[in-house]
Symmetry: D2
Subunit: 253 residues, 4 copies
């Protein structure tokens, strides 16, 4: 059984405004998706988040978003493929500089919110972003949130892609996610059951009870879920019993 990664969005504070519970969550994850300063984050927050990840031997990736702090990068913007590519390249470069300062490496790219949705719906935008990131660093991994974009990524020559699954949200039978307006507390044991099920068998129960395939090499945990830490502890409690090993993305592909 190959190791599995746990990734989490991080560094979404901005100036005097804080968000998430990065310090509490970091000890339990293996990859941090760090906001690039467009939808959230700023240079100082990025610097501190990279340092926090480095202190916990957590792999890092950039979590680039649209330039729309007021909308937290959750509103579609009709940008061209080249514009979106340049937004990703810019934020990727900025994070890379902080990584160098702290002696670590940016391993992956995982677009945020409305940018992710745009790439999922427009293969032309997705390819522009993926080719752009490869031109910057051919070792970079694309962390894919759905099968559409995973397949686009796998068609890009030389690009390594990892598919991620979710355990603190419910799947529909068609493997789409039921996204809540407001994240609710989740039963940590139920979430841990799902984690084990995906990690060992690549399957999970959808909301209608049907078992569906989720061939994920990484599991995304929402760090802003009110009981995220409890959930992560429940997951860690199961690892040994089931022989599940955790590893950052760079050790998985």
């Amino acid at each position: 059984m190959p190791p599995i990664d746990i990734n989490c969005d991080m560094g979404e504070s901005f100036g005097n405004w804080t968000m998430g519970q990065d310090g509490e969550v970091m000890p339990y994850i293996t990859s941090a998706n760090i906001a690039g300063g467009f939808h959230a984050g700023d240079p100082h927050v990025m610097c501190e988040t990279v340092e926090l990840a480095a202190d916990h031997d957590v792999g890092i990736g950039v979590h680039p978003g649209f330039p729309d702090k007021m909308g937290f990068g959750r509103r579609g913007i009709d940008a061209t493929p080249e514009e979106v590519r340049d937004y990703v390249v810019y934020q990727l470069g900025a994070l890379t500089a902080f990584a160098k300062r702290h002696g670590v490496t940016v391993a992956h790219v995982k677009p945020h919110g409305a940018m992710y949705s745009m790439l999922s719906e427009s293969p032309e935008h997705a390819r522009a972003v993926m080719e752009g990131m490869l031109e910057v660093d051919e070792e970079l991994i694309y962390l894919a949130t759905d099968m559409h974009i995973y397949e686009v990524a796998r068609d890009v020559e030389g690009l390594r892609a990892v598919f991620e699954g979710y355990v603190d949200l419910d799947y529909r039978a068609d493997r789409s996610l039921i996204v809540e307006k407001q994240l609710e507390e989740r039963d940590p044991e139920l979430v841990a059951d799902r984690f084990v099920s995906i990690a060992t068998d690549g399957v999970v129960k959808a909301a209608n009870g049907e078992e569906i395939d989720v061939p994920a090499d990484s599991i995304c945990i929402h760090g802003d879920n009110p009981n995220a830490v409890e959930i992560l502890e429940a997951i860690h409690d199961r690892l040994e019993e089931h022989g599940i090993e955790l590893a950052p993305l760079s050790e998985i592909v």
Copy 2:
């Protein structure tokens, strides 16, 4: 006689607003200081400016500014040394990613406007920025606009620094510059005379007629001067006669 560099601020357009005459000026210079998206520039402008420089074999550096587009980075902001360092690291990283896409290397750092003034007045801020840039890339060169900061730079272990002179502005006898509110056309021949004088003898005539030392290895030309191209042509017309060779910063130190 060692070669000399000609540097110019570039990439200061923003979105639909254009500034400068980058395309016209680029053929005559050897180093481009490219705005990092804080006081001017944006990801698309940076991408295009790096490409333009690469097409002309012009060396590139980052021209980082304060996050103040409304004030064009020309107003002091009471930021801490760590904040300013992180602004520089962020913009340096962003430019580096575009450089990688275009197969070139970021060679130098030259802070813009009020950030430059702050570093010149506060050695603590200057050292924070210089140490930060070295932690990102120890090959980077600091392009120093005055002697105060040049000396701070030379005291930073491992940092290479280049002192720059001006020929399209007048010096006072104390080697401070007489900065105009609005750049005026300059007599190209007079400017070219000064260029030759600095390049060959390291001296120039101040406004009061006194000859002063300007031990510069790079000359800064204002690309937004109305007759910048004419000035640059006049300079190039003198090179052969005086045996002056041009070279980008990376070939000078």
Copy 3:
């Protein structure tokens, strides 16, 4: 024959970046649509533009845009009706304060670029904006760029609306406009012919030669057209001969 208004977008400079030729165009128009600081403009530019309009007895309105200076407000943003309404109310209020300082009144609202397109396509967004502006000031006029939105405006209880026509762009036979990527110089005499034709008969020739109805009480001139001033002079030269009177929007409805 009722008087007709000439409106033009103004105040689209930002910080050190200039755009348009407001000073040259202002003497020829009767209504200025002033950018509200979101897609273009800033407090200082707004202040100066209001003063310029006041000096020429030109009526003013707000030209609100999406909060997207990098895209100049020309990219759709998936904002809710309430968000868009609040963007308009905010920019309207800001302009009103500058108007009060200069002893003039904000007469109208004309959304810019992608915000205009959104309102034209979504009556729900359009109504939210229109009701919001009436709640701020029930005297305000909505300047409508197409028939869809004109009809929505006329259905909003208590709202006065004016339909505007174009003479420096070509119409299709279905009264949609052929928008150019880059504004081109236009034959001033041809443009002036169209102006007279709309002002006197409410008709204009479409690109295919067909005569179409354009029942406009205001004509929009693009101030960033390279020969905008020449066009405006040609229009003014025809006024007396055809007995056409100019008046700002507030005197028309």
Copy 4:
């Protein structure tokens, strides 16, 4: 004994980032200083905050800041008097439009953070702002945080000014405030004692035990103090016993 006002900064959330506890604090205060969207706040937050204040019959004023969300308006920016005036006019106008939508009136202006400090140190900047606000609305009250600026305000022809005192911070004997980096919980009874002392006798004990004059007609409470609500309850519990009446600023001057 004249009535006294309790004012509190409000509306400092931004997009998805929340700050303060406006809903909990609003029932206890008489004047809300609402952020204008430059250092904090956005159009939607402003709209909701005005509505919340209106629901509680709380007077409103604008709390304008420098255009520096990353620094929360707490960093000095070398802006000219005219620039600062225009920033205040812009934000004042924006808030006024939301006030009109909700049928209430903007009563006062209280600059935030580094802008307040600048006005306190530079009478030229202070006068530019004060004259600007009067040109917009001559009924507006300037809420003055220290005696320097209070005196400048009283010298501006036609301007009404109110001096405010603090009870959840300590005064030095020279009536300067000991500002904490991080607001700490305060003993509600001690704070309420101070409130009564200022409201009834215009005096308070400084940190060194000396009694000093604080001739305040308004008391500022920090809504982001961890026990702000408890403090406000303790203050309200004393009102009847001491015959202290609360009233918004507009009913005080």
